[in-house]
Symmetry: C2
Subunit: 528 residues, 2 copies
């Protein structure tokens, strides 16, 4: 789930000039009901240069990395050649054991698989006797593949000459084994040179990220008291564009994912099976009922939610977030983002800050899929007995998925849709980390050492269950790292190993060096 958020951020990061969409043509009337707006107190912008570039120099470790880079590449290929498809339970146990064994081999005193109701987690603890403790979130699972769509087999992890340079092509290359293995290579290099780490290190990995992290809370259950002792959480992730600009995410929206279903019942409609379509003349249609129920949730344009209280409890942009957003907007190019999405306009013809704030601070209702009756070619005349849709609602900070579901339920009930079934499939609240935590500043200082165009995004519209860290454990949480990859969840996924001419994204060696710096920066950072 997180990968997508990152893809979206990379679109933001790639924009480079102010060129708002000129046309504000509205072919769809704006609804009478209005979504909340969030007036800003300030036009000032956050400047990441307020954090000095990381000044530490770890020349011996850098040299060790340069000398070992072929071995480090092979260590990554070894991971990539081990399938670990969570959705198909393919290679999961082997990959979990490979991660655990690697940690053990690196000197982690505690390494164990963590049983859950799904695939196991992997826990590791490296006791450096240090003052600071860094918690690393990892995922060891990958998305399924359609082998025939790949130009190089997805689990061969071949090194390929790409226009961007030398890349490794494999499922999981960028999402997430590439960045994660780079991080472990960095750890290994520090230990090899210094004999220990400058921080204590916890690793709490899961094998179900691609399934929506349904059992990560159970992993936290098992180590909650230990995890709370950490100073912050890092998630290794490549965050550069080919131009070298990088982006950083401080928050994610929450999500409520549910199925909504209409079936024939006491209210009318066929209860057990489809009937002949001609009987619509005297038989109610569950399909039309679902359509009416979903339609009742939003304004005519589908963009404003009519459920009472659905815009309550939203935490408006803080002063810090306003500064960050002003900066993001100043380099954001709506037209370019729209082009990359194949979208002609944002809702209500919005652009610039209005669009960005609407995206980040208002909840959504979206239909991810729906189905009913006959969907094949040609003509079949039936009155289906049921209709189902999958819907998701992205929730800003302050909102709770169960509260929102209860509000939808109450609204449907109040409008005569008491028979409509709601089935929650997933849900968790938003997560937010401040730009001024010790962890945040340590990460920014390293970005400032290696890159020029850092974009600090207070939040993305995508969702990840980071609330486990921010809310439950009370820790700052940041996905971070140099490097470039693409093709997550798609064929021909790649991760850049050696940049080609003119490509400014970091290669594997520089990624590892920057992780070395980040670990030392955290060791020196103020707590929170």
């Amino acid at each position: 789930m997180l990968m997508k958020a990152v893809v979206m951020v990379s679109f933001l990061a790639l924009t480079s000039s102010l060129n708002p969409l000129g046309a504000d043509e509205q072919t769809v009337p704006k609804s009478q009901v209005e979504r909340p707006t969030y007036p800003f107190d300030t036009e000032e912008m956050y400047d990441p240069a307020v954090v000095p570039a990381y000044a530490g120099d770890h020349a011996k470790i850098y040299a060790h990395i340069d000398g070992a880079i072929e071995d480090h590449t092979k260590a990554l290929q070894r991971w990539l050649r081990q399938p670990s498809i969570s959705a198909q339970n393919k290679g999961i146990m082997d990959m979990a054991e490979m991660l655990r064994g690697d940690l053990e081999g690196m000197g982690f005193k505690e390494t164990t698989l963590v049983p859950t109701d799904g695939h196991p987690g992997v826990w590791g603890y490296y006791d450096a006797g240090a003052e600071k403790t860094l918690l690393i979130y990892m995922m060891y699972d990958v998305q399924p593949v359609n082998e025939e769509d790949w130009q190089s087999p997805p689990f061969e992890a071949n090194l390929i000459d790409h226009k961007l340079g030398k890349v490794v092509m494999a499922r999981g290359a960028m999402n997430q084994k590439g960045p994660e293995r780079a991080f472990l290579n960095a750890l290994q290099s520090i230990i090899a040179v210094n004999g220990t780490l400058p921080v204590n290190l916890m690793i709490a990995a899961e094998g179900e990220e691609e399934l929506g992290s349904p059992h990560y809370p159970q992993i936290v259950d098992a180590y909650e008291d230990r995890m709370k002792m950490a100073d912050g959480v890092l998630f290794p992730m490549s965050s550069q564009g080919p131009d070298g600009n990088s982006s950083m995410i401080l928050g994610v929206k929450g999500i409520l994912y549910f199925e909504i279903e209409a079936r024939g019942g006491d209210w009318g409609g066929p209860r057990k099976a489809e009937i002949h379509g001609s009987y619509k003349g005297i038989v109610d249609s569950p399909t039309l009922r679902l359509i009416k129920a979903i339609s009742s949730l939003t304004s005519k344009d589908g963009n404003t939610i009519l459920v009472p209280g659905y815009y309550d409890n939203i935490q408006a942009p803080t002063h810090e977030e306003q500064l960050l957003l002003n900066k993001v907007v100043s380099v954001r190019n709506d037209a370019e983002i729209q082009k990359s999405f194949g979208v002609s306009r944002w809702i209500d013809g919005q652009t610039g800050r209005d669009a960005l704030v609407d995206l980040m601070y208002n909840p959504t209702l979206n239909v991810d899929g729906m189905w009913s009756g006959y969907t094949g070619p040609g003509v079949k005349t039936i009155l289906p007995h049921m209709a189902t849709a999958k819907m998701d609602s992205r929730l800003p900070l302050g909102q709770n998925p169960d509260d929102m579901l209860a509000k939808i339920r109450a609204y449907l009930d109040a409008n005569g849709f008491g028979d409509i079934v709601l089935r929650k499939l997933s849900g968790y609240p938003a997560a937010q980390t401040s730009v001024s935590t010790g962890l945040s500043e340590a990460v920014i200082s390293v970005y400032n050492k290696y890159t020029e165009g850092l974009s600090v995004n207070p939040r993305v519209a995508g969702s990840a269950p980071f609330y486990q860290f921010t809310d439950r454990l009370g820790l700052p949480m940041i996905p971070a790292g140099l490097g470039y990859g693409r093709g997550a969840h798609a064929p021909n996924e790649i991760f850049l190993i050696t940049p080609g001419e003119g490509v400014k994204a970091a290669g594997l060696a520089d990624i590892e060096k920057s992780y070395v710096d980040m670990i030392f920066a955290v060791a020196k950072a103020g707590r929170k």
Copy 2:
């Protein structure tokens, strides 16, 4: 398509007592807009006994049938063993040629395949030098099969001991080869005994009935002037229940079948492919747009059409139809029909005549199927770029499918849904034959000879392209015949050959004898 209408009629025929649904509980509010109602001038009922039972006796022909019944059964099995699945183009040409050859062998002077843009028609003409001419509509195609679902292979046409008696089990047994071959067996028997037929006989068969008869108009094109010379059109069909009661259909509703689709475009939404669901915050949803567009077509309960003019031009029940409907209602049992359908209530809690007239005389809008985005298990968060539904509208006499589609188009345009795509897949108007035509009375007289409980339905809610006969050729058209079958469009389709103890539906021999009578009755009937 017709088969379903007949299935529905058989439900009507099976009802035997007046027991309207007591409860009129409305959990769905009745819409403000009202569908037209049709006040009746009379409470009088049509009594089929006004037509004297057919008095002719063709003892020699009956005896011939009894003597030849094993050969006649084998002739039917030979047809059933020849697959003719129009949807899969399986055995179509062989079956067309088998029918043509059989007609030639029986003494039809003209027999030919009729090319169309689809599967060929079969034309046959038997010149008896008679005063009257009977046109027979036939279909030689059948529905596809899932062989594993059958207890006896669908193209072996085995004779099976069933609780109803001896039956033949095969795809096409009742729909429609059983009744059709019985009719030809009757013709053959008349010719064998008398040397000729009492009427001239035209046969105009198609091989695409199960596809919605898309090219039957081309068959009529080829023989229109000839066909117009006929005195009426008969469609061999088994119309009895196991209790021996039979039902007769004088009319069918028309149909408009179309797909309705929303796609991202200038108005908003992703144009080319799905995007990440979190972007709903600023991107319009084509799926919600389709939901809004479909929702706009009907009242909140989905049962009254809001498209201006959609209830115009409806031909209200004539005096004759009122008499017929009063009779049908008097023996109709809503609760039993509802139970057989698995439906708790008709729309608005209607029962009796109100429900029946609403069903037969008002147009409908029904969603046959719809789909968009992700429809698999679990969670996938996308904003789909398109959404599609299949819809059908059943049209009473007086309405034209192209007019209705134009009204829907105009309504969508006027309501800001100009981007919504409508794709017509099929459409034809209703058809109606009077109970007082010569053909109708000839058929009723034969029913009155063999059965007691004849139900004469002025119309069914199902659709068949009979307007080709009634409107284009100006002929009365009746699907008729004794006999019983079930399982059309389903596994284990059967046709009753020899009724068991207590089963009052006709077996093959009696079906053939009644067709003999029907042909002689038509020969004597008044024109129209």
